[in-house]
Symmetry: C2
């Protein structure tokens, strides 16, 4: 008799990291993916010391913290990883991920390239997705359109984006977020998630 377990589907929540250079559209794509199947996903919000942009909501887009609050989280070892990004601190509260995984839903995180590399080391079975554009020109254009940047800030981001593009090979998947083709990018990310749930060797996320 065949072991009944062979017919029992083990399905653990996934940890999906959406990353890529600044300006590539991580926030938008992560939001569209979650909205497409809101009942299936939990979103992990990053903590940051940078001031909110006009349209950003605390606790939803980011957890906006003072430097002192952020320092306290570091000291209490409450962050999965943190880094200085453009003179501001960014970090991922461990409790956010634990709560999200405990819900049984797949967990989606939007993390900069530096942070994604760290997560990959700490959680090897995280699924890491690198968002990119069709060309460097397209990326630079998008950074330029972002009104919040000073000219100096812009140049820094372009230089950083160039460096970050070189780390693409540290990731599992590569998605082009082309102008006017966000639907394709979202469809591809949903396919990656569906495929991951069909893998034979699935292991739970541990952190």
């Amino acid at each position: 008799m065949v072991d009944a377990l062979l017919y029992e589907r083990r399905n653990y929540p996934l940890l999906i990291v959406i990353s890529g250079p600044s300006g590539v559209g991580k926030d938008t794509i992560a939001r569209l993916v979650i909205e497409s199947r809101a009942e299936a996903f939990s979103f992990v919000v990053t903590a940051t010391t940078r001031p909110p942009r006009p349209d950003e909501v605390d606790g939803q887009d980011y957890i906006f913290l003072s430097s002192d609050q952020f320092a306290e989280m570091i000291e209490n070892n409450e962050l999965l990883e943190y880094a200085i990004v453009y003179n501001d601190y960014k970090g991922i509260p461990k409790q956010q991920i634990r709560d999200a995984l405990a819900s049984g839903r797949d967990v989606i995180m939007r993390v900069d390239v530096q942070g994604a590399a760290t997560i990959r080391k700490l959680i090897p079975n995280a699924i890491t997705i690198f968002l990119t554009t069709n060309s460097e020109e397209e990326l630079v254009d998008r950074l330029r359109e972002r009104k919040s940047e000073t000219s100096e800030g812009l140049n820094l981001r372009i230089a950083t984006a160039r460096q970050e593009m070189k780390r693409i090979h540290e990731f599992d998947y590569w998605i082009v977020n082309a102008e006017e083709q966000q639907e394709t990018a979202v469809h591809q990310i949903l396919s990656i998630i569906t495929a991951a749930h069909c893998r034979i060797n699935q292991r739970p996320i541990v952190l």
Copy 2:
């Protein structure tokens, strides 16, 4: 300046092996996957010495060969793999795969469990999918409904299916082809294919 190659998507044709125990629905699912996006897929037809079933078409469902013809292909090293399956020979003509890959389209093969294991050894970057049912009862029922089986043949297939289920861990993916839910199985296979094209480390199939 970032290397322009970073923005150039390398996309090689995939080799997708749909396998699973006898009676699980490999033929139907492979056909539905191909029909869903006929322009994107090539299908590799297996050669066999078994007689065609009433509704089967030579060159389309299988390449039906005499024992002598099959022996000649073996001698000329024209088969990727071959095996005796229920007293008949089955094998995969290499030229079929080469032609299919040369078309630039993804190649879909329907292969028994034994054959799939061999292909996995010869072509490690093939994508291997194991089709299964929700329970052993469902599988036995389907084998019983297949009118072409004698009682003895049926018992042999059930025993073989039990052994084959134990090899599921040699595969990459696991799809449940449940009664009345073929659409889900097809959607999952298409997702696996889409995801594979988004992988960062893609290599061409060599054989």
